[in-house]
Symmetry: D2
Subunit: 268 residues, 4 copies
Amino acid sequence: MCRWVAYRGRRRFLEDLITSPAHSLIDQSQCATEAKTATNGDGFGIAWYGERDEPGHYRDILPAWSDDNLRSLARQIGSGLFLAHVRASTAGRTTRDNCHPFVHGRWSFMHNGQLGDFERLERRLEARLDDALYGERKGSTDSELLFLLALEFGLEKNPKLALEAALGFVLREAIALGIRPLIRFTAALSDGRALYCVRYATDRHAPTLYSGAMCPLTGDGHCLVSEPFDEDAGRWSEIPSGSFVTVSDRGVAVEPFDPSGAVQAIAV
Amino acid sequence: MCRWVAYRGRRRFLEDLITSPAHSLIDQSQCATEAKTATNGDGFGIAWYGERDEPGHYRDILPAWSDDNLRSLARQIGSGLFLAHVRASTAGRTTRDNCHPFVHGRWSFMHNGQLGDFERLERRLEARLDDALYGERKGSTDSELLFLLALEFGLEKNPKLALEAALGFVLREAIALGIRPLIRFTAALSDGRALYCVRYATDRHAPTLYSGAMCPLTGDGHCLVSEPFDEDAGRWSEIPSGSFVTVSDRGVAVEPFDPSGAVQAIAV
Amino acid sequence: MCRWVAYRGRRRFLEDLITSPAHSLIDQSQCATEAKTATNGDGFGIAWYGERDEPGHYRDILPAWSDDNLRSLARQIGSGLFLAHVRASTAGRTTRDNCHPFVHGRWSFMHNGQLGDFERLERRLEARLDDALYGERKGSTDSELLFLLALEFGLEKNPKLALEAALGFVLREAIALGIRPLIRFTAALSDGRALYCVRYATDRHAPTLYSGAMCPLTGDGHCLVSEPFDEDAGRWSEIPSGSFVTVSDRGVAVEPFDPSGAVQAIAV
Amino acid sequence: MCRWVAYRGRRRFLEDLITSPAHSLIDQSQCATEAKTATNGDGFGIAWYGERDEPGHYRDILPAWSDDNLRSLARQIGSGLFLAHVRASTAGRTTRDNCHPFVHGRWSFMHNGQLGDFERLERRLEARLDDALYGERKGSTDSELLFLLALEFGLEKNPKLALEAALGFVLREAIALGIRPLIRFTAALSDGRALYCVRYATDRHAPTLYSGAMCPLTGDGHCLVSEPFDEDAGRWSEIPSGSFVTVSDRGVAVEPFDPSGAVQAIAV
């Protein structure tokens, strides 16, 4: 189980969410309180939107808490839209290419969760990618492959439908292989304009997802996090499983998220 | 273009070939004299046979010349059969999983060369692997994929035929895609008993391969190297392109190596 | 707080103590049950005695649990005397040069504990080293400096007296600077023949140290560990604070360890 | 011998000097044409001034040419004043703490050159630092120690005098030890406002230093480089040995640089 933070709002330094709060992402990397795995020492990454079309991208395999580069970058880099992740590996080895976020053109993606029986599913899932997306796969994680599948299913046009279709495809392939489907999927992604998040699972154990204003008084920024920063219960609201969240200039919208329709649609 | 050394003979410390000679592998990593690329700073690796069935395996992404661990291991570890490699990347990024040698069960494999248009061929080549070998692929190099193809084509039963069949398959797939085939392939591999080497190319530029006794006087060990250690021209003999070399208890045998027959055989 | 294992006895593969037991060192690196810090993800190292005078030495800054090299080395390397360590940093940054064990000639040394106000003491302690030992310091830890001080005070002639003198010197310097001395020191060291361990602290919080036979039935090897491998309470005996343990061909001997006499002796 | 680039002028993306030109710093890291060592694969670093008082700081031990993080950061980060360095080690091991630039508060520093007999001089030089600067030393290079000595001798008040005094102190200490002094020192440093460079040696082999406008036509930025980017001979002027260069809002000023006066001044 990994931990992550996503932010959209007024431009601020990354350190405000990565290193400064009482229960910041770096602090969480050493002592997560809600996660299944107490330590997230298998690498980390950030993706942030600045002056370029594509996001900046920094990943390393050291534990986040011991990386001076990360500390300096988080102090220097300001952004109005960024993703940050610390990793505890479930599938895929400790290499930079397996660290979240993953980036494709303007898009960034990070994930907490797992696909059951991924080693049996991987080949069939990968076969669904077109040649260009197949060629982009650099690591060996289920997460990167899910991101590429979402791109295959039209992420750049309609993120919600594409993610439903991608997970629906996974469900269908699992069934076709006689595997009882298990997906736990709490993810954040962005195209540099809006921030999108999903919380979903095929069982009752969808990894947690919380939403909260960066500064409750001024309301000048919004966070989606896998685990709250602080004990301020009034600040954070839990997003229920089966939700798709959009944070844009029009505020925060929550819609139902259900890949099963996509399964039928694809199956037809 | 990478550089490598393979040894079979009386047990000796790895440092005898990796760090001690005037023109050792580590020296070569900073200043190769026959290779296309002057610097081999994209990682290194060793595989050696000792008391276990499977070889020991050590790889890292640092330049070989700056790795204290390698220096200590080469001083401590003795073996009668080992492979050592320094890498200059042509395909595949600088990660441990892309460093040679690659290991599968008892087998180890390392390679110097390239496949033309690998990014177009990769998917079709990978599709030829059975599920178990597909699941073993950890990196993104053409070299690891060629090793897995050789396993698919029966490496464990007949190394020469399997390598001919694997390269023949590559040639056929290239032709099928309308690609003019380009293979340059100088490789060493072992099952812990014999040492096998290949020098082959579809053009006139097969990467070099030399054979020589470790100690010309005592004859108690044999080396196959991508580039000679020393200026002692009498010690080294160049292996011609289109050769398959076997070093075993019965000495050194050189046979012709020709994947084109395999192409026809497969094509039938 | 770090975790470590030291072994002396019949030659065995390092994996028997590093990766195989139910509560092995690698398992401990993710979830120490008696240590102050739950995670030991700031690097690891091994030193083992084989065919050379000096020990083999392998250290890296990855978390031990994600290092394939360590896993392979531990399976291949057999030794009758070795030290292994996983690190959670208290002083000194995450670099290979700060990972234990430290090696000097035939000697190896590893440590769990701390020196209070080390940043104030460091310069005065370093000044006590002769030029050659000063030139050997590669990292910035209190542990490496304590090892060099012990060498300065005659480790190679009399390990117990040298360690008492080194710690006594630290106490005296702290007092001279008006610092209330705080030393917590549980260490293992070897010259390739005997294995020596110390448990000592100036307060009641000496890091734990346990002694036990590798195989209680056959008695063919002895372990000293910072934390037991298993729940077999009958196997492990806790070494009290203020002890110096020698494991040699004559068995296991425990003597009182008290640097305060050395303080007076030096002070005279 | 290392290679570096320093820039002051209109804000621009770091990639303009680090990755884009025909003969950029990354290109130089694989194939330096004027340096003694052909390969600069022992790490790299950047320091840039942005919205904070202190510079941003990113260093890693990989060869610069294989670091995706560096490529992304150089595309994202814009600055009007920055230093970038690729390292080929002469003294000091390959660790992040030994990579240039070094940073102290607002100041950054990078260096190409060497101190003769550094291992004999190191201790006496280090002894000259006050406790705070002594405590700041993290690595083992002569370069970092020279930077700390310059701080000790008043870098923050008068960079030229402080550097002359620091090198003068080195000369005096070498003479006191009976060592024939050898200093080769081509360095760049900044406080975030001006850019300062030095070219100096005690013999005829001061590492090269060139000065040139970023865009000769618009004149909106100035570079100081250890080796020119391109073949445009009209663009670059070589700075003679024994020079101190200041690039500020008032343009480029070159003054004589001579530590020998400082030797006498100190010696009095």
